[in-house]
């Protein structure tokens, strides 16, 4: 059951979107999300939609993969949309008891849905087209200025990539321990909240013990492979900002300008 959680949902490929440098891609994603927040008219969202689908098409990631990212948040989206729909004041077009539908409410709610949907789609596109290693590497490089004032950027990136590496292993282990405890009559699913919380103790204790042992062994194995921090370290995948990154940035800047213009017209 725990295995259903997909993490590090990288979709390997060699598309132009994949080839954009990870650090640049993070910046672009943040920029794009800002644009989505700025967009206020339906015309602007039309542009955002067209652009998003264009990038998905370029990336060769199957569209159903990108849409799948929306599923876990569906309830959240619907809930906030309904709230917005009925709670916004303005010209009333329909009323039933205390429920009141306003023109502004409808517009506001639909823009809200569009906004959340495109935000999620653009972040999942980032993780689909960037390997976790490249992603942590990108974050490390983004933080380099902080490194100058003593912030442990390399260590942070290393911790993140190791965490990513061990999540599936630890999930598998949790699953195993749960089954072992269930075979001995443990019950994780029924009873009061306190009872269920208590049932977790025999799960968490062995899990923690094993995680510490793993960490210990991993540290020795890393030492054996000459690990000594970020100093003088080279990378297999050299990351350089190149032509494609500037092109992508240029396109996004032009697009942002278009969205800002279309806000006014809408």
């Amino acid at each position: 059951m725990l295995r259903d959680i997909t993490l590090g949902q990288y979709f390997p490929g060699n598309s132009p979107v994949h080839r954009i440098d990870a650090m640049v891609k993070i910046i672009l994603a943040v920029l794009y999300m800002t644009v989505i927040f700025i967009a206020k008219s339906f015309l602007a969202y039309g542009l955002v939609a067209a652009f998003t689908f264009f990038v998905i098409f370029l990336s060769t990631v199957p569209i159903r993969f990108v849409l799948r990212g929306l599923k876990p948040l569906l309830i959240f989206i619907v809930f906030t949309a309904v709230l917005n729909l009925f709670m916004t004041g303005g010209t009333v077009i329909w009323q039933w008891g205390f429920l009141r539908l306003t023109r502004e409410g409808i517009i506001y709610a639909s823009l809200m849905i569009l906004r959340v949907v495109f935000l999620i789609m653009s972040t999942s596109l980032l993780t689909y087209t960037t390997s976790p290693i490249a992603l942590t590497d990108g974050i490390e490089r983004l933080l380099t200025p902080l490194g100058k004032i003593g912030f442990p950027t390399h260590e942070l990136a290393m911790m993140m990539s190791i965490a990513l590496r061990f999540i599936p292993t630890l999930l598998e282990e949790t699953d195993k321990i749960m089954k072992a405890q269930m075979a001995r009559g443990a019950d994780f699913k029924t009873g009061s909240l306190i009872k269920r919380a208590k049932a977790l103790i025999p799960l968490l204790v062995p899990l923690f013990i094993s995680a510490f042992r793993r960490a210990d062994e991993l540290a020795v194995a890393m030492e054996c492979r000459c690990y000594r921090g970020g100093k003088n370290r080279t990378r297999l995948h050299e990351s350089k900002v190149g032509r494609i990154d500037f092109i992508a940035l240029g396109i996004l800047i032009v697009f942002s300008a278009l969205v800002i213009l279309s806000n006014k017209s809408g």
Binding site: I133, T169, T234, L236
Partner: protein
């Protein structure tokens, strides 16, 4: 390649007896040495001295003539003697096979184009080329362990030490790993030190070192070692299954040689006896 002189060690001062006591061992370049011994005999402790993960309490360990206490040469030692452990899950650091294999050369500051070459070559040597872009947690145990070996190979070591690398694997995984080691030893001339509980694996080595209570108890060719079935049993060790069978047969009065390590040898020895018996009946 590796030399220990009067090596003694204990983990902390509360331990009343030494974990390793006065070990003198020389491992030559290109050798394939198996280290056996019962649980707690000090095998893991000993091999951790071979690449300066542990430093001797008394005595000295030399790797390629470098004293392992020499901190300025630490990474020369670690690069020369690579180490593979029992649990493959706890030694892979990256989420993609090629990134994991690249980890050691990255740490050593090797140029990216050279890392690329080393990664491809190492994966090819262990027969894992087609998994270059896979996630390690989806591989089988034997495959993971071969990726771990490739990760060490990418350092271009002179020697690889493996501490029970097959203990968590199924028979197929075991065979994959042992075949890989034999190939590395014979084709690349890499010195192999294999710690194992599996006597059938120890037979594939050219030399077997038996540890007991922190000291070297026996040291010699597998044939010489496994011939001494009673002595091994007294040390709490098993012998290869086929040797055990031959030992039992000779106790029953059947005249078979004791230094038999493989099924083929056993077959030859037994058919010789049969021919001899037939000869007796005819005359």
């Amino acid at each position: 390649m590796i030399k220990t002189e009067n090596l003694s060690f204990k983990y902390n001062n509360e331990q009343e007896s030494l974990v390793l006591e006065d070990i003198n061992l020389t491992i030559e370049k290109g050798e394939f040495v198996a280290i056996i011994g019962h649980n707690g005999s000090g095998k893991s402790t000993l091999v951790k001295h071979f690449n300066a993960i542990l430093l001797p309490e008394g005595g000295t360990v030399y790797v390629k003539g470098i004293d392992t206490r020499d901190e300025s040469r630490l990474y020369d030692i670690r690069q020369a003697v690579g180490m593979v452990f029992q649990n493959p899950d706890n030694q892979l650091v990256a989420t993609i096979v090629e990134d994991d294999v690249a980890f050691a050369p990255e740490n050593l500051g090797v140029a990216p184009s050279e890392i690329r070459k080393r990664v491809d070559r190492s994966l090819e040597t262990v027969g894992m080329s087609e998994y270059t872009h896979h996630a390690p947690h989806l591989l089988s145990g034997g495959q993971k362990q071969r990726v771990a070996i490739a990760g060490i190979l990418a350092m271009k070591p002179d020697c690889i030490v493996l501490d029970e690398p097959t203990a968590m694997l199924d028979p197929i995984g075991r065979r994959e790993v042992i075949q890989t080691l034999l190939k590395l030893n014979s084709e690349e001339g890499i010195t192999i030190v294999l710690v194992t509980h599996n006597m059938d694996e120890a037979v594939s080595a050219e030399r077997v070192v038996v540890l007991s209570e922190g000291g070297v108890e026996m040291d010699g060719k597998p044939r010489e070692i496994f011939c001494q079935v009673e002595r091994l049993k007294a040390l709490g060790l098993a012998v290869p299954q086929i040797t055990e069978l031959m030992y039992e047969l000779s106790r029953e009065g059947i005249n078979v040689p004791c230094d038999i390590l493989t099924v083929d040898e056993a077959y030859n020895a037994l058919s010789q006896i049969e021919n001899y018996n037939k000869g007796l009946k005819r005359s």
